[in-house]
């Protein structure tokens, strides 16, 4: 592992895979096919894009002009704020993989994660300049802000669908069906997690109260 960090090829490969993300977002069908089938993507690049997304999300919170984003700082928890991307992402990857693997999906969990992260690229790509531009416009000129902001999300959303279609080798209708299915699987997982946590906490509370009772009696 450490030895590979010293090799020059590691870095050239990393740069090539990262650059390939730009090809992916402009030529999604072709790009996401090559991403896995031609091994032109890497997890390192995917992680980089994910980190960029998280950074741009925080930068947006901090540096967007108050004209477009009024932040109630008392109510912000930075970790929860980051979790609002990471948690759905984890659920999506697991849910999508678990579902598609039962129905002839060719993608592995690793590939689902990589492709989804690659599809996030439009978000930092548009949001970071938008954050800067928001500081040099007035409210009346700001109509484009919400349009571009929505466009970045729409673009990323379409890319995720295209990515899933290519890595699982599905038809378009099947992809859309399984996207909805994956969202449903996410809901089911959230439900089970909540159930699990409330059961565990009740179980713990039960043993704590027994312990207290014993201590009182002694």
């Amino acid at each position: 592992m450490l030895a590979s960090l010293k090799k020059k090829e590691t870095y050239t490969h990393y740069w090539a895979t990262l650059k390939f993300a730009f090809y992916c977002i402009t030529h999604p069908l072709d790009g996401f096919w090559d991403l896995t089938h031609e091994k032109r993507g890497s997890i390192a690049a995917a992680n980089t894009i994910l980190i960029l997304t998280l950074v741009s999300r925080i930068a947006k919170l901090q540096f967007t002009s108050f004209l477009f984003m009024k932040v109630y700082w008392e109510g912000i928890n930075i970790f929860l704020y980051l979790a609002s991307i990471l948690f759905p992402l984890a659920l999506w990857c697991v849910g999508n993989w678990a579902l598609t693997t039962l129905f002839d999906g060719k993608g592995t969990l690793r590939q689902v994660y990589m492709a989804t992260c690659y599809a996030f690229l439009p978000y930092p790509l548009l949001q970071i300049p938008l954050t800067i531009v928001s500081n040099v416009v007035t409210v009346e000129e700001g109509a484009f802000y919400s349009v571009v902001s929505a466009f970045s999300l729409l673009w990323a959303g379409l890319l995720i669908i295209a990515a899933m279609m290519q890595i699982h080798e599905y038809s378009i209708s099947k992809t859309i069906g399984f996207t909805v299915g994956s969202l449903f699987a996410m809901l089911v997982m959230v439900f089970i997690l909540l159930l699990f946590f409330s059961m565990i906490s009740q179980g713990i509370a039960y043993f704590i109260s027994i312990g207290r009772e014993i201590m009182f009696r002694m």
Partner: protein
Amino acid sequence: MKRLKRISAFVLSALILATSYMTAEAEEGYTYNYDYWGDVQYSPDAYDVAKVFTAGDMGLETGLKSPQGLSVYEDMIYICDSGNNRILEVKRTNDTTLEVQRIITEFKGNVEVNTFAMPTDIAVTDDGYMFICDQSNKRILKLDMDLNYVMEFTKPDDPNFDQSFDFLPNKLAVDSAGRVYCVAVNVNKGTIKFEPDGVFSGFVGATPVTYDWTDYIWKRLSTKAQRAQLESFVPTEYDNLYMDHEGFIYAVTSNVSAADVDSGAANPVRRLNLMGNDILVRNGEWFIIGDLYWGEAGGYKGTSLMTDITAFENDVYVALDRNRGRLFAYDDQGRMLYAFGGNGNMDGYFKSPVAIDHMNHDLLVLDAVDSSITLFTPTTFGSLIFQAIEQFQDGEYYESGESWKEVMKLNGNYDLAYIGIGRSLLRQEKYKEAMEYFELKYDDDNYSRAFKQYRKEWVEENILWIFIVVFAVLCVPLMIGKIKKIKHEIDTADIFQQ
């Protein structure tokens, strides 16, 4: 010695208790406001109780009995002592003294009934007439100042007016031309308007009917009989009226549902023009509804129920809530200045407030159950706010900014002070500083106004640099490309190959 110690310990503990009580009091203040986020921000008091006047304080033998109406004309206060069928003319001789001038129980003139029965409201006009809602006698009386009968306004003989009900005038407002606008019991079509000659000329200020597509679908599906019942009519029962110095009528209503008030669909406070359209400016962050949140604490449920309103000459208006006994002051843009008051027995709290009026910057509130008048005078904080608003209206922008700075010193949580300073700086063309104040309190419109000017100035100052940067960005890559091409041609040229 032991005893002395004990006493000193007692005094000390009492002091500690007292101070802790005082700090607790400071947290749950008497006066408050809402900030940009809608959080309650307690503030220094804007008004102090100068005195609470009961009948005894004014030198009356019989106490007030369920008084309903209060009106101020210059330094005279007119009180409708409804339960005793009389009207009191009271003069304010100095800050904390009221002297009864006349106890009016009857008037001169050739009419059947020369006395009042349950007078509920009175208005005094500049041309020297009194208009009195003589409710149980079913008329509005017009008397001159020497109590001579002039004329009366009675039940309109008009098909628009529901003839099956008695005409029971409750509240009234009179404009400079002598037109009478009246709120009557059982009338829910707006205010009843009388011409100066006593002729009924229609209803003014009914809530406009709005349609949405669900109504349309229901109408399509319902039978003719059902449709008749769905008559498109929004009942409007005003509680009280106030004629302001510009001749517009401030009207309040408490017949609004909590859901409508919360969503902004219902407006409990309105400012009507001659056509009856609501022209109240609503530029504030919040609806003009009094309290933004209502629980069921202390047994008081629901929204603020506005029962009366008064407007100063600087267009600040104060609405009176009979539900929780609070007063809400708003500026001409519809932003809340402060709210204060409450239900209770202490001075500055009410049992059943029914009417409010102002004398210069002082406020008078009439309490029907307590049978008293509370006189509020502005504190330093309150006066400074008025001063800042008035200076801005008079075009003294710099002075206004200085006054707002004084306000800010007294209350650093006062959003309007920041915006006021910003607006003052904006008028002085100090755009950069103005932007800072607007940004602190999230005033995007004013910020944009300042920023537009600031940006313009910045571009004008730096136009040379902007050109240089644009030139560099556009031309340098082109030139680099060109040089590389030439170099490549030289490197690959045949004549150098040998």
